[in-house]
Symmetry: C2
DNA sequence: TGGCTGAGTTCTGTATACATAAGCCTTGTA
DNA sequence: TACAAGGCTTATGTATACAGAACTCAGCCA
């Protein structure tokens, strides 16, 4: 693995997991020493992070970790609804029904996983990830997939702020199952509607658990 | 201006204007000497180009200019319709009617510009750009704007392949005027429909003028 | 006492030298 | 003559040294 890849992965993880808080200045010498590499590969890593929007160049004085405000979350979900709604519709038109029918069945059994310990929870998140991957594969549109992929980076960051309790995860699994069912049925409008519903509930949950007061705790 | 910015702008322009054809290998020493800079800023420029999708790393053997196939054009316009349709709808909800009413009036007079020489044509393209900018400003969603911005890079590249004759430009101006009118009227569904119509006609025009045979002429 | 100016420091931006790995060509052998 | 193995060439990946710019802080002047 290249040193720049390692630095990129490490910094990306630190930002997403909120170990590097918004506003933190990523000085090149400091970070390169911390990661045990030279400045050259670190700069490439910072370039990639900036291209993704996780950092911004602060007017010639280093790069800083970007903030995510409540307004940003609204904007993120507005774009997410646009992209994933269309993606679900396209998947319903082009996807293989059997694939999504299988995912639907697994998602209906997901509540058994949610109550369990970490390994089971990990299985649940993997299942949701497989649904996303199946949709990506079904729509066969590299540009749309890329747009969603770049969006998911920020969404993971937001998700880390919201406490995903068992109740919300159980409800989310049902919503995901509804999306899979609509896609398996080949019904684009239903798939889009199910996605819209799911995203609105997700957003409500995030905004409910992530109050401005709790937000201050982080920054 | 930084050397890496200069290299990025130069390479980006060369790719968009098809002076660097798809499949061209951008060797670091070769390009750095051509642009009169060192390898370090050139590598940063290549990183940015790769992040944008204009180039790809060819499995450890340099970066090559990405190709745009007919399938890619379909995918590009599918994403474009998704994003710009939603953007037009949001602009209709949130934009200032007077701004778009003014743009509509100017667009209706655009045919006078299209018949003229280069400076007038430049004015026309500037006018269309102002409509895009007005929509971007009206929706007030940085993530959606960013997604459209990254998409436009590829669209400019495609546009260079299509011969924009006066007839198509005149029709396009009318379509743009219809979009501006719908936004000014504050009608989201109409704005989205007008955008969908415009993009479908644009795509038809591109695919009609840009046959696979002509495509071969480039590659 | 407040603001401005200057040197000092520390950062980023760039160039270059070195390390390493991946092709490719050559050569030898079957 | 075809295939494989090895060295050679050339590319990228990395480190480091140097240059330039910007921020800071102290000292001076109004």
């Amino acid at each position: 693995m290249r040193a720049s890849d390692k630095a990129y992965a490490a910094l990306r993880d630190d930002i997403i997991e909120w170990r590097l808080l918004p506003g933190t200045v990523l000085a090149e010498v400091e970070q390169s020493e911390r990661l045990g590499i030279s400045r050259t590969p670190l700069r490439e890593a910072l370039s990639r992070l900036t291209a993704e929007g996780l950092t911004t160049t602060a007017g010639g004085r280093g790069v800083v970790v970007t903030d995510i405000s409540l307004d940003d979350i609204d904007e993120l979900f507005e774009l997410r609804e646009t992209l994933e709604g269309r993606a679900a519709a396209l998947a319903a038109e082009r996807g293989d029904p059997a694939t999504f029918e299988q995912l639907r069945r697994e998602l209906l059994q997901a509540p058994e996983l949610i109550g369990g310990q970490d390994p089971a929870l990990h299985d649940y998140y993997g299942l949701v990830g497989r649904l996303d991957a199946a949709i990506d594969a079904a729509i066969s549109n590299a540009y749309l997939v890329q747009a969603m992929r770049s969006l998911r980076v920020h969404l993971v960051r937001v998700r880390r702020l919201a406490a995903d309790d068992a109740a919300r995860l159980t409800a989310a699994a049902a919503e995901h199952a509804a999306i899979a069912e609509a896609i398996a049925a080949g019904n684009p409008r239903l798939a889009e509607a199910a996605t819209t519903l799911h995203l609105h509930r997700s957003l409500s949950h995030v905004k409910a658990t992530h109050t401005p007061q709790q937000r201050e705790h982080h920054g």
